[in-house]
Amino acid sequence: MIDSTSLSTVVLGLTQVMLTLLVAPLLLGVTRRVKARLQYRRGPSLIQPYRDLAKWWQKQSVESDAASPLTAAAPAIVLAAVLVATMLVPIVGQRPPLDGWGDLLVVVGLMALGRFVLALSALDAGSAFGGMGSSREVAIATLVEPALLLALTGAALAAGSTDLGAIATIGAASGVSWYTPALLLAAGAFALVAVAETGHEPVDNPDTHLELTMIHEGMLLEASGPRLAVLMYAAELKLVLVAGLLAAAFLPVGMAAELTPVTLLIAIAAALGKLTGAAVLLGLLDATFAKVRILALPGLLAIASIVAVVGLATRLWLPT
């Protein structure tokens, strides 16, 4: 028995899954194009990331002879973690595709699962560069995760729930009154750590292949062929995930509450707009910011934690 509510959930969910899976590489193309234009270059085509994935897919994988079976399993686990996490975030509809499966803490947990497996597999080949990328990734994550959780807690308190569907629904229903000072501070904190979490300037340079500056690229250095394609695709999908999380908690506009052709079109347009906007902003950051020295990162990322704490304090202590 399929009633109209569950039908709309299924259609909106499927739309979101298809949309996010399809546009993920495009967003990388957008970021690169913006960066290139700001540097007075033409830059590669918008669909170059798709071509890269196709090229890697056709190649043979080369595996280090020092590697354990983890190297073969890691790309699949990393992609599965990001994919399932993306399905827990409402991007098109106000309820996520996997409605009632997990809340924002589960999303953060799945991101940690992906990081754990990727950072481990980077050590597997016994290369110094893998170790370098891996140790940097887990160290920076220790600065990111407290701020991420504190910022999301700000949104959860505003909605009275850690469930992302509830946050998006209540946020959309509240209209302008959703944007309290407390929530705006949380949004600012989240935006700051989102840059670190997706590996962009001023924390990481996604285009670098200079060994000593790599973080995420360093961890992928030993991957090749279809495995590289899977890991790169997971990284592209992670941008969708983080941008979707930001939008669901702090910009819940345009998302479909129920299914009609009009709301669906608006929802798709809004989702595409938000995701593209995030990609453009990252391109702007990449082009205009220099990388911060890795030892100076605590100073930068602590700002996010402090802003998030100030946001929570504002919610509790300021009279409303």
């Binding site: 887990v138 701020a147 729930s161 899977v230």
Partner: protein, 675 residues
């Protein structure tokens, strides 16, 4: 329920007798005829059977909800030993039974500690198990203190072993000293409660505690926290733990870290929460602060370790911290009348207690397996063990993912619930603003802890099992005995199973915590973890299946069906060797510098040149971090104590005449006083 309770009443008596008999036999068979030691197989086998019995007893107690009451009679000669296992005690019995059975089976094949020579101190192992089982059910002061001391002494014997070297002896004495300070605090707390109640039975302590003045109740609470906090290894009472746990044989370490320190948690919940009841705000804030300090400092110090078992010992401090965060929120919310949130937080703490027993045991057992195979637990000489020791590697990997709080494993489920308790309390308008602010800061602290734990276990797992072996011993390692593999695998499977069944398991634990705070939390049923007050779900089972399907499909399409060529790692044209790999120390360097204000790392580099040239012949590097609690609290304390002892020593000249003189002075003084 009625069938379960009928079954419980019918079976619990014979079960208790069987457990006691098996453990007694196990003790006897470890010693053997004429005081010589037997090989440990028989004794440990009997212990394992007893632990299965303990597990069943725990399940019966929790499932029936009816306390199991028994008396061993007046075996001490002056007071009867009475036990009463309610469902809270039953939960700890389940943890003891599971971790104990696996540890005992593991111990049968274990050859990592003192070779194959039978060891008479092994007779303390069944006594240790028995004392733990007794602690969780002791119904009065005498029974409890008897079990408590037996637990301390038997575990101390196991730490010392039969031939303690200097390091082991120091660790053992420190452990003994601190555990007795803890007992002293408990004796005072019990004395206050018993004199108020007029009886030694715990069952009447609750009513008596309610009549005490606020100051005395506060004193009892602090004493309880000192006594049980020391046993739990919570900061600042933790100094014995990272020294004593690593030197014990691995199956004992597993039991000490997995279960014994939980006796401290049991005590804080039983006495600090259930018997003392709702308290003022500072109680909860104190426990919360202890929890946050233990969690963050514990994991930071763990990251700085490259001895695998010391690293795991510091993680026990971290996990006790996570548990105490839950207990602290529960005490805070309970004290301010928010029983719903208190129920969530206490459920989280008890769930994490059970989970930690499972994953910390598997990690310690795997560390023992590595020590057996390689002869070392120094991460800087391990490496590449995943291919030679697949069972150990997989078990350790699952334990590492569980302790790092990664879905869909059990560690994530209880950390998720802890976060729900924190966020729920933070959003609860009935709580005071101070309490809400404190718990919301706890969200950041727990997030930091979780991220640091991921970093630490990537380091520990990677350095141990991945890349090239860093020593010949690691290169020649072989998988250890079947029994050890079986023990590790069953615990790893339990970690996965409890993680997937997080919903039903936490629903049962919610019932237990409801019994403690006098109101059962409102819970949802079904596959989701139940949550109170907040509309949130974590459907562990469904998520695990979906993750498995997606990962399996991707693996099949992108890896399994594709050709792979194996080649040497590219190292800029040089032959790859282990020296190129990141070491445990270098892996943690960035974190060492990021958290330098706490860790205060010191490094010393000595370069020796070839005479007359600028070229170095040798470069020596030495780095260490400082342990702030040791240096700021225990070293001054130690210096003061030694100084005082020096002063008192001046009285001790060794001259008989002087001592007679002291006696005369003392006699005269007494006569004058008694005049």
């Amino acid at each position: 329920m009625s069938i379960a309770s009928a079954l419980g009443e019918a079976t619990s008596g014979p079960l208790l007798a069987a457990i006691a008999a098996l453990l007694a036999l196990s003790t006897v068979s470890a010693i053997g005829p004429r005081g010589r030691a037997n090989p440990p197989g028989l004794s440990l086998g009997l212990s394992a059977m007893a632990c299965v019995g303990i597990f069943v007893l725990g399940v019966v107690t929790v499932a029936s909800g009816i306390p199991v009451v028994a008396s061993a009679g007046d075996v001490l000669g002056f007071a009867p030993i009475d036990v009463r296992y309610d469902s809270l005690g039953g939960l700890f019995l389940i943890a003891l039974g599971a971790a104990g059975a696996a540890s005992s089976v593991f111990g049968i094949g274990y050859r990592g500690h003192g070779g194959t020579v039978p060891d008479r101190t092994a007779a303390a192992y069944p006594v240790f198990v028995a004392s733990l089982a007794l602690v969780f059910g002791a119904a009065d002061v005498f029974a409890f203190l008897f079990a408590w001391e037996l637990m301390a002494l038997s575990s101390a014997i196991l730490v010392f072993g039969s031939r303690p070297d200097r390091e082991v002896a120091r660790a053992g004495y420190l452990y003994l000293a601190l555990t007795h300070l803890a007992t002293a605090a408990l004796v005072v707390a019990f004395a206050i409660l018993a004199s108020a109640a007029g009886t030694m039975a715990f069952s009447s302590f609750g009513r008596a505690a309610a009549d005490l003045s606020p100051e005395v109740r506060g004193l009892v609470f602090v004493l309880v926290l000192v006594g049980f906090g020391t046993k739990a290894g919570a900061i600042p009472f933790h100094v014995w733990l990272p020294r004593a746990h690593p030197v014990a044989p691995s199956h004992v370490s597993a039991l000490m870290s997995g279960v014994m320190i939980k006796a401290g948690v049991y005590g804080i919940v039983r006495f600090g929460l259930e018997i003392l009841g709702p308290g003022p705000q500072w109680w909860g804030l104190l426990v919360l602060a202890m929890g946050v300090a233990s969690a963050v400092l514990g994991v930071l110090y763990a990251l700085m370790e490259h001895d695998l078992k010391r690293l795991l010992a510091f993680h026990s401090i971290e996990n006790i911290g996570i548990i105490l965060i839950g207990v602290g929120v529960a005490i805070l919310a309970f004290g301010e009348g928010a029983t719903a949130v208190a129920g969530v937080a206490l459920t989280a703490a008890l769930f994490h207690t059970l989970n930690h027993a499972l994953f910390k045991s598997v990690l310690f057992l795997a560390a023992g397996s590595i020590q057996s195979a390689v002869g070392s637990r120094d991460l800087n000489v391990l490496g590449g063990l995943a291919r030679a020791m697949p069972v150990t590697a997989l078990a350790f990997g699952i334990g590492a993912a569980a302790i790092s709080g990664l879905p869909p494993l059990n560690g994530f489920a209880s950390e998720w619930l802890t976060f729900q308790g924190l966020i729920g309390a933070g959003g609860d308008g009935s709580l005071s603003l101070v309490a809400r602010s404190a718990v919301l800061l706890g969200v950041g602290a727990l997030g930091l802890t979780a991220a640091l734990a991921v970093a630490c276990f990537v380091k520990a797992t990677g350095m141990t099992f991945l890349a090239l072996p860093r020593s010949p011993a690691a290169a020649n390692a072989k998988e250890t005995a079947r029994s050890m593999g079986f023990a590790m695998a069953s615990l790893a499977i339990a970690c996965v199973g409890v993680g997937i069944a997080a919903g039903p398991v936490s629903a049962v634990i919610a019932g237990i915590s409801g019994g403690v705070i006098g109101q059962r939390p409102v819970t949802a049923t079904g596959p989701a973890v139940p949550v109170v007050g907040i509309d949130a779900v974590y459907a562990a089972g469904r998520l695990a299946v979906l993750l498995f399907i997606v990962a399996g499909t991707v693996w099949y399409v992108a890896v399994r069906r594709r050709q792979t060529r194996r080649a040497a790692t590219w190292t800029c044209g040089i032959v790859p060797e282990p020296a190129f790999e990141y070491t445990a120390t270098s892996y943690a360097k960035l974190i060492r510098l990021y958290f330098g204000s706490v860790l205060r790392p010191a490094r010393e580099v000595t370069v020796e040149l070839h005479p007359g040239t600028p070229f170095p012949r040798t470069i020596r590097y030495h780095g260490e971090v400082s342990h702030v609690i040791d240096e700021r609290l225990y070293h001054p304390l130690h210096r003061t104590a030694v100084g005082a002892a020096e002063l008192i020593r001046r009285l001790q000249s060794g001259s008989l005449q002087l001592y007679l003189g002291y006696s005369v002075v003392a006699l005269v003084a007494l006569l004058l006083l008694a005049r």
